[in-house]
């Protein structure tokens, strides 16, 4: 909401002695936050009113003129112009040497075809003005000034730029502040000053009664709380006076003609949107406020054809819609040059309905923006009277007798008890009752005894806490003493959060950096990671109103997010990238409204030294460090996202927790990565339940460990895990550790066979092992290997 300070100073409360900075800071901490503020004259510098003393043809040009311009100083200045509408005695805007025009244009002296020119004469456009601002001027020529001014006057004063426009961020709960009066009230209260009020007075005329001309029906009574109308006859359409144009312009509203300007002026001043209909086009003199019919269309003032639906509120006559209620008028009843009779509409429409209609039609307007905040229905009458008063002030028509006022709401006078102690207890203050009453009165909120009579424009005041806010901000939030409370609560992290933190630390120690990716993804990711059409992961939660296809479903797998980031890093030519994410996925659960949101730990890497076994070693180290139970790894050929020969399923305590392996080259290609990519996906939420109990001390061994190396030849198909299992079982309880240290194929080992070499550590807790002990273990192991795997000692 924009506000020009001059308007407030002139009409409501004189704060002209307060600097812009002081005003802005005060209002901001009072609760009306200023977004920006700007002096209107900031853009135009060193441009003055000049009087053309003489004008002669340029000696070297057949279209330029050399002017001597009186700028209120001893000597006139010489300025060359190419405009053809300047004559002796005219007052013109003269941009002098070293002057600035809107848009950052800098004017300096120079020579035009050999003749010195000490500046420039300006058109309206060059001063960022339009014919609406100064209707007597011409579009393509110098602005010949017809205002009350003299040579040397700053042009900013002539334009009305000696003003500051302040742009406020108005909060949703304060619809009253979408008006000059509302902001004037806040300004006065912020500075502790009383505010001047003006009650509109309509003189009336002998133009007759409106009741004979107009009838209003409101069948859509739920969507229209109040419909107030007055009429003006003998209208003379023309430009508005300068003061009114200037106030509109300072607020960013383009002047059009007196009647339309009056409706805009009242909307700014009261915050009550108004509309003016040309009575000629109100068929049979009947205004009907109804819902649109299916298939009905209306061409709005902006020239667009609007397709309407039931639920949208229209203003109609007996035949057709003539306006889109609360949003924009219809072209068919627009005020024209020859309009002679006008209907002023000042209504209160349902805010939610207006907002939804504006949204559905994609046309939020100043008026709809105000209605959607839920306006005060008591405002329609003073607003329409103010419009009529302005008609009389501008002498642009005769206000007819009477006023039509259809009321569909029951006024609810509201009182709130002033609970001084509770307010002080909530704020942590000791403000006396008298001070509270004073604050409320400054905000024009009457208090009688302990009863606060809430004004109709303050729908936000319902409870003690609401009053506490008014008292608190008047007292000053920054003046409330700062205190420290004591509670018996204990701070901390949940156990799973602690495990998350540790997981992150270990991943980083292993060289992986953390990433953060979006929770929503494109449905195309499932094809990119080659999931079959019937994969359960394809059943996602779909956003009904996504920003775009790329962010339209909630991810059920975190792998694509990782691949996407790896791909991006690869594109940036980043070498040897290792990344991790603890990523939530969103899994729909049958019969439940909300999905499960487990967290998946994803590791992803490409570059030097990255292969299956470095990744596996890292995952083993991670699980070990997190004290997770022992994991087993089994080959998986049918995970379509991974290399069929280089992928393992990770199982812990019978629970499948994820996969590790090389990403399938076709998947990597889908992400534009040529080199090998390795990823691990571990269900972190499941890991949490697979932690080992807290360790207790095991006495250090008293007797020495004996080491035995064993190498044997077996079929290629036998896995290391199979061999390990056989050895462990056969070795019995003396075996303390087993480690593969070589795999050999080649000379001395037959085709289709391989040699595996293990190192076994044996130890007893009650004695030193003898050679016989260890030889017995070795013999048992070899026998079992031979029997179960067909292996022979090498």
């Amino acid at each position: 909401m924009k506000l020009n300070r001059k308007w407030i100073n002139e009409e409501f409360v004189d704060l002209s002695g307060v600097s812009d900075k002081e005003y802005v800071d005060k209002l901001t901490v009072f609760g009306q936050k200023v977004e920006t503020y700007e002096r209107l004259d900031a853009q135009i510098k060193n441009v003055v009113v000049g009087k053309v003393v003489s004008i002669v043809r340029h000696e070297n040009s057949d279209h330029m003129w050399v002017c001597q311009i009186d700028i209120g100083q001893e000597e006139p200045v010489q300025i060359v112009t190419g405009a053809q509408n300047v004559k002796e005695g005219d007052l013109v805007p003269a941009a002098l040497h070293n002057s600035w025009l809107p848009g950052g244009i800098h004017i300096t002296k120079g020579k035009l075809r050999g003749v010195a020119s000490n500046g420039m004469l300006c058109s309206l456009k060059e001063l960022d003005l339009t014919l609406g601002d100064f209707p007597y001027a011409i579009e393509d020529g110098i602005w010949i000034i017809e205002e009350d001014c003299k040579p040397g006057d700053d042009i900013n004063a002539v334009i009305g730029n000696d003003d500051t426009v302040v742009d406020f961020e108005i909060t949703n709960n304060r619809p009253d502040c979408y008006s000059i009066i509302g902001l004037a009230r806040e300004s006065a209260a912020a500075f502790g000053l009383p505010m001047k009020h003006h009650e509109p007075v309509v003189q009336g005329s002998d133009a007759g009664s409106m009741y004979e001309k107009l009838d209003v029906e409101v069948p859509a009574e739920k969507l229209c709380n109040r419909y107030t109308a007055r009429m003006v006859a003998n209208v003379k359409i023309g430009p508005s006076p300068k003061w009114l144009r200037q106030r509109l312009r300072a607020n960013g509203v383009r002047p059009i003609n007196n009647i339309v300007d009056i409706t805009n002026y009242v909307m700014l001043e009261y915050g009550q949107p108004m509309h003016a209909f040309d009575y000629r086009y109100v068929s049979s003199g009947k205004i009907i406020v109804r819902e649109a019919e299916d298939g009905e269309t209306l061409t709005t003032l902006d020239g667009n054809v609007r397709n309407l639906k039931p639920g949208m509120l229209v203003i109609a006559d007996e035949d057709r819609a003539i306006g889109l209620a609360g949003i924009m008028g219809g072209e068919n009843s627009e005020i024209m040059e020859d309009t002679t009779t006008v209907v002023f509409e000042s209504a209160n429409f349902d805010g939610t309905s207006i907002r939804q209609t504006a949204l559905a039609l994609g046309m939020r307007t100043d008026a709809s923006g105000k209605f959607e905040k839920h306006l005060d229905p008591t405002m329609t009458v003073p607003a329409v009277n103010r419009a009529c008063e302005l008609v009389e002030l501008l002498q642009c028509g005769d206000v007819m007798d009477g006023m039509i006022d259809v009321i569909n709401f029951v006024p609810q006078p509201k009182t709130v008890t002033l609970e001084v102690d509770k307010i002080n207890a909530l704020l942590g203050t000791s403000i006396p009752e008298a001070a509270m009453v004073k604050y409320l009165n400054l905000l024009e909120i009457p208090v009688e005894g302990d009863q606060i009579l809430v004004p109709s424009w303050r729908p936000d005041l319902n409870l003690m806490a609401d009053i506490a806010e008014e008292v608190g901000r008047s007292y000053g939030y920054n003046e409330i003493p700062t205190t420290d409370f004591k509670t018996s609560t204990q701070g901390g992290y949940s156990p799973i959060m602690k495990l998350e933190a540790k997981t992150g630390a270990v991943c980083r120690a292993l060289g992986y950096s953390e990433i953060i990716t979006y929770s929503f993804v494109s449905p195309a990711i499932f094809d990119q990671i080659r999931l079959p059409a019937d994969s359960a992961l394809r059943s996602t939660l779909k956003i009904k109103n996504p920003l775009g296809e790329d962010t339209s479903v909630m991810r059920t797998t975190a792998l694509p997010s990782m691949l996407d980031i790896l791909s991006r890093n690869n594109k940036y030519h980043n070498k040897n990238v290792k990344l991790y994410e603890l990523a939530k996925i969103y899994l729909p659960v049958a019969e439940k409204v909300l999905p499960e949101e487990p967290k998946i730990l994803v590791l992803g890497s490409y570059g030097d030294g990255v292969n299956f076994f470095t990744l596996k070693g890292q995952v083993e180290a991670l699980l070990n460090n997190l004290r997770i139970k022992k994991a087993s790894y089994t080959a998986v050929k049918d995970n379509p996202s991974y290399h069929p020969g280089r992928c393992a399923k990770v199982t812990i305590d019978g629970v499948d927790v994820g996969f590790i392996g090389q990403i399938h080259p076709l998947v990597a290609k889908n992400y534009d990565i040529e080199c090998e990519v390795y990823c691990a996906e571990i269900n972190f939420t499941k890991l949490f339940d697979l932690q080992l109990p807290e360790p207790t001390y095991v006495p250090l061994p008293k007797y020495p460990t004996v080491s035995r190396d064993l190498s044997f030849v077996c079929d290629e198909e036998i896995t290391v895990a199979q061999a390990e299992a056989v050895i462990s079982e056969a070795a019995g309880k003396l075996l303390r550790n087993i480690r593969l240290f070589d795999i050999y194929r080649g000379v001395g080992v037959a085709e289709g066979k391989k040699s595996l070499a293990f190192s076994l550590e044996l130890r007893a807790d009650d004695r030193t092992l003898t050679d016989a002990d260890s030889e017995k273990v070795t013999a048992n192991v070899l026998a079992a290997l031979g029997e179960k795997l067909g292996a022979v000692l090498r």
Partner: protein, 347 residues
Amino acid sequence: MKEQLEQIKQQALCALDAAATPADLEELRVRYLGKKGELTAVLKQMGSLSAEERPVMGQVANSVRAVIEEKLESRKSEIGAAVLEAKLASEAIDVTIPGEPVTMGHEHPMNQVLQQIKDIFVGMGYQIVDGPEIELADYNFTRLNIEEGHPSRDRSDTFYFDDEDKVLLRTQTSPMQIRYMENHKPPLCMLAPGRVFRKDEADATHSPMFHQIEGLVVAENITMGDLKGALITIMHKIYGHDANVRFRPHHFPFTEPSCEMDMQCHKCHGTGEVNGGVCSTCHGEGWIELLGAGMVHPEVLRNCGIDPDKYSGFAFGIGLERTAMGRLKINDLRLIFDNDARFLNQF
């Protein structure tokens, strides 16, 4: 014989002095003190001496042996030290050669800032909690006093999963207030950081997904002064004790009174100007918005079964991206979610 011994002694001492290596010393030891050495050879002649002469000569011989042994030992340690010194000298390396590279990963910068903030709150007695990101409209709006038809419920602002607008991506972490109060009785202090979602196209200052940190305190006799005290303490810990802050009224449906907290711009010190131009950090305002807060609305307490006549509380919401970007001077929000390794490795 005595002269003979004396001569051996002199020769041995000279030779030991001249020895340069451990091998020289060993050779001299064998030559003088060995079984076939010169001293032994002389002692073998002891049998030819008289009984009176023998002990005297024995004494002389022993003292000669002792002198040579002592000299041998001292030369051993001298030469050993020299040898070690030479060895060490030959082993010298260029210590300016870089170390073997060890690659450690980096925590995402935003999570680094989050971790610092969480630790501060834990120290102040707050329990850190987590909750669902796909949420019921009931928790995200209704129970937070945000009525049906409120603009923030619009499909232009909020992502929905159903046609009735009942299930959504939470637009704020505030539903965690409700969830926590449902399951905990006052006094309570909680902090709920997490992802939130709003229908904004990604640009330098917007993202359809971002992070908030929700805080809630409910106990007996909590005042707005307590809210101020807690938030000032926290901001001083995050931004330093010279951070100048202010509170100004604002509006949130679920707090009353409500406020926003600003920090004086560290670049222009509140003037809004740097070198005669508009300060780029605060856009000329002189203040930077830090967070929204307020006293928990009585209706919200009642919605969670807490008696507003007995208990009061405050709540606040901090934008994590804004805080991290301010702290780390990151000028484009998209960098946060781009995850470029060159960016991540800076922190």
